[in-house]
C-alpha cells in the first residue's frame, strides 16, 4: 500500500468514525442521562436516510430534504418519548430492550410499507460533487470531506452545549441526581425529552448525510445500531468523549480490516474476517478495561 492509498483510507476511516460518533453520542447520552437502553436508535438512522432519499426527490434538493427531515424526526422523537419512553424510566432494562425491539420491528415494517424494500442511491449535491486530485491516479471526493467537517462542527457544538450552557448544566445535573434536580424546581421530564429528541435528531441527521455515500437500504439501521453498541462499550457508557474515541477507532479498524491482506498458515484471515475485527477489538477492550476507555469503574 503506497502513501496515497494509505492517506485516503485514513480519511475514509475517520469519516466513517465521525458518522458513527453522531449516532453513538445520542445513544450514550440517552444511556448516561436517562438510564435508557434504546435499541430503536438505529432505526432513526434508517428513517433519516430514507427521508433524505424520498424528500430530496420531492423537493429536488438534499438541503431542503435534510432541513425538513430533521424537523420531522425531532417531532417523532418527542412524540415517542412522550408516549412510550417515559414509561420506562423506572423499569428494568429488560423491558426497555423489549419495548424498543418492538419499535424496531414497527419502524422496519413501516419503512417497507411506505418506501418498499429496494436499495436506492441518493445524488451528491452539485457543489460538493467534485473530487480533489491527490496524484495522477488518486482523487478524494469533496463530499466525504464535507461529512467529516460537519460532524466535527456538531461534535464541538455538542461539547459547548453540555459544558457551557445552562441547559447543559441541567443535563449533567440530571444525570447524577434526578430527584435533587427536580426538587430545585427544574422540569427534569422536559430535559429528558429534549435529550431524547436531540439523540434522535443526531442519528437521523447522520443517516441523511450518509445516504449519498452508503446508499439507502433495508436493515441499515440495525447494522449501525450494533456497531454503535461496540463503540459505546469501547468508549465507556455515558461518556461523549469515549464515544468519539471509540467511533474513530472503530472507523479506522473497520476500514483497514477490509483492505489489508493478512494470511496466517495459508488461510486468508483478512479481508475474509473483516466483519469480525471490530468485535475482536471490543473483546480486547473488555479484557483490558471492562468499563470502557473513558468509563467509570463498574
Amino acid at each position: 500500500m503506497d502513501l496515497g492509498t494509505f492517506l485516503i483510507q485514513v480519511l475514509n476511516g475517520v469519516q466513517y468514525g465521525l458518522l458513527l460518533f453522531l449516532v453513538a453520542s445520542g445513544l450514550t447520552l440517552v444511556f448516561g442521562i436517562m438510564g435508557i437502553i434504546n435499541l430503536a436508535h438505529g432505526s432513526f438512522y434508517m428513517i433519516g436516510a430514507y427521508l433524505a432519499w424520498s424528500l430530496s426527490q420531492h423537493f429536488g434538493s438534499l438541503w431542503l430534504a435534510i432541513l425538513a427531515g430533521v424537523v420531522l424526526t425531532v417531532l417523532i422523537g418527542v412524540a415517542l418519548e412522550w408516549l412510550l419512553i417515559n414509561k420506562l424510566y423506572h423499569r428494568d432494562h429488560l423491558y426497555q430492550v423489549l419495548l424498543t425491539y418492538g419499535l424496531i420491528l414497527v419502524f422496519e415494517e413501516l419503512r417497507s410499507v411506505i418506501w418498499g424494500n429496494d436499495v436506492h442511491g441518493v445524488a451528491v449535491p452539485e457543489w460538493l460533487a467534485a473530487s480533489i486530485r491527490l496524484t495522477d491516479t488518486l482523487a478524494y471526493p469533496v463530499y466525504r470531506l464535507w461529512i467529516s467537517a460537519v460532524c466535527l462542527v456538531l461534535a464541538v457544538l455538542m461539547y459547548l452545549l453540555i459544558q457551557r450552557t445552562r441547559l447543559g448544566m441541567m443535563i449533567r445535573a440530571g444525570a447524577s441526581n434526578r430527584e435533587m434536580v427536580q426538587s430545585l424546581g427544574i422540569n427534569i421530564q422536559l430535559v429528558y425529552r429534549l435529550v431524547f429528541a436531540l439523540g434522535v435528531a443526531l442519528a437521523a441527521f447522520a443517516g441523511m448525510i450518509a445516504a449519498p455515500v452508503s446508499s439507502v437500504f433495508p436493515g441499515m439501521g440495525n447494522q449501525v445500531l450494533i456497531i454503535c453498541f461496540v463503540v459505546v462499550v469501547i468508549g465507556g457508557i455515558g461518556s461523549v468523549k469515549g464515544a468519539m474515541a471509540g467511533a474513530i477507532l472503530i472507523g479506522l479498524v473497520d476500514t483497514f480490516g477490509k483492505i489489508v491482506q493478512v494470511e496466517i498458515a495459508g488461510f486468508r484471515v483478512l479481508p475474509e474476517l473483516a466483519g469480525m475485527t471490530v468485535y475482536l477489538l471490543m473483546a480486547a477492550v473488555l479484557l483490558w478495561r471492562p468499563e470502557g476507555i473513558f468509563g467509570r469503574r463498574l
Partner: protein, 320 residues
C-alpha cells in the same frame, strides 16, 4: 410442598396430552408443535440466565445457531450423521463457546452486559456470514437427518415426523426436569441470591463470577441442544439463526410467558409461534402487528401470562 405436588400432577397431565398429539392431529400441527417445543427448550435455557440469575443476554442465539452449524459441518453430505457423536460435538462445542464468551461478557453487568452479548452474537453471525466456512450467507443444508442406534438397534427414525416429535418432547421434558433440579439445589439458591443481591452473596463468601459462568455455560449448552434439534427439523442452517432477531424473540417469549417460571417461557414460545402464523395469514407485513404486540406486552404485562394467572404469588418469588 403441596404446590410442588400440584405442579407435578399438572405437568404429568400436560405431558400425556402432548404425547397423544400425533395420534390426534395431522402432520402440520405435529410439526408446528415440534418447532414450539424446540423453541421452548431455547427459551427455558434463556430463563435460567434472565429470570433466575438476572443476566439479560441479547446474544443467546449464538449458541443456538452454533450448535446447528456444528451438526451441518460434521454431517457427511449425502449420508446420515451419527446422532450420538454429532450431538455430543454440538453440545460440547456450544459449551466451549459459552465458556469463552461468558468469561468475557461476565466482566460487565447491567446495560453493558446487554450490549456486549448482542455484539458477540453479531460476531458469530459475521463469522458464518462473511466466510466460506459453511456456505456464507446462504447457509448450509443437512440433507439427511442423523441416525441414532444403540448397539445396532434403532429406537427411532428422525425422518418420521411423529418419532422426531416424541424425541423432542422427551428432550423438552428432560430439560425442564434438569433445570428444576439445578434450581432446587444449593447452586440454584446461590444464583437466585446473585440476582437479588450480588454484593451480599459476594460478602457471604461466594465467588459469584464462577457461579454466573457455570450458569452461562449451562444455558449456552441447552440452547445448543435446541439449535441442534432445530437444524435436524429444518434441514438447513443459515447465519440468521445466530442473529439478533432470534435472540430478541427468545427474550420476548420469556416476558410474554412470565420469566423466572420455566413454564412461562415455554408457554410464551407457543403463543409467539401461534401469533406469528396468525399475523402471517392476515398480512405480508406481519412484523408490524408483531412489533405493536411486543411494545404492548412490555408496557402492560411485566409479569407475563403466568403472572396473570398466579397473580400475587408470582410477585413474591419473581423479581426479588
Amino acid at each position: 410442598m403441596a404446590g410442588a405436588r400440584v405442579r407435578l400432577a399438572v405437568l404429568g397431565v400436560l405431558a400425556l396430552a402432548l404425547a397423544a398429539l400425533p395420534f390426534l392431529a395431522d402432520k402440520f400441527y405435529v410439526q408446528l408443535a415440534t418447532k414450539i417445543l424446540i423453541l421452548a427448550i431455547f427459551a427455558m435455557s434463556l430463563d435460567l440466565l434472565v429470570g433466575y440469575t438476572g443476566l439479560v443476554s441479547l446474544g443467546h442465539a449464538a449458541f443456538f445457531g452454533f450448535a446447528g452449524y456444528l451438526l451441518a459441518l460434521v454431517s457427511p453430505q449425502y449420508e446420515a450423521a451419527n446422532l450420538w457423536t454429532s450431538l455430543a460435538i454440538a453440545l460440547a462445542g456450544s459449551a466451549v463457546l459459552a465458556l469463552v464468551i461468558g468469561a468475557l461478557v461476565l466482566r460487565t453487568s447491567g446495560i453493558y452486559f446487554i450490549m456486549v452479548t448482542l455484539a458477540f452474537g453479531e460476531m458469530l453471525f459475521h463469522l458464518f456470514h462473511d466466510t466460506s466456512i459453511a456456505g456464507g450467507s446462504d447457509g448450509i443444508y443437512v440433507y439427511v437427518r442423523p441416525v441414532g442406534t444403540i448397539f445396532g438397534w434403532q429406537p427411532f427414525d428422525f425422518e418420521d415426523f411423529t418419532h422426531f416429535y416424541l424425541v423432542v418432547l422427551v428432550a423438552a421434558l428432560g430439560v425442564y426436569a434438569l433445570l428444576r433440579m439445578v434450581l432446587a439445589s444449593p447452586f440454584g439458591r446461590v444464583i437466585v441470591g446473585i440476582r437479588v443481591n450480588e454484593h451480599r452473596m459476594r460478602s457471604l463468601g461466594y465467588h459469584t463470577f464462577r457461579y454466573k459462568l457455570v450458569c452461562f455455560v449451562l444455558a449456552g449448552t441447552l440452547a445448543g441442544l435446541a439449535g441442534y434439534l432445530a437444524a435436524v427439523q429444518f434441514g438447513v442452517v443459515n447465519p440468521d439463526m445466530l442473529g439478533f432477531h432470534v435472540s430478541a424473540s427468545a427474550l420476548m417469549m420469556l416476558i410474554l410467558g412470565g420469566m423466572g417460571t420455566l413454564v412461562g417461557p415455554a408457554i410464551g414460545a407457543a403463543v409467539m409461534m401461534t401469533l406469528e402464523l396468525l399475523f402471517q395469514k392476515i398480512t405480508d407485513h406481519w412484523l408490524l402487528p408483531m412489533g405493536v404486540f411486543i411494545v404492548l406486552v412490555a408496557l402492560l404485562l411485566p409479569r407475563g401470562l403466568v403472572g396473570l394467572v398466579t397473580g400475587a404469588r408470582a410477585k413474591d418469588d419473581s423479581r426479588g
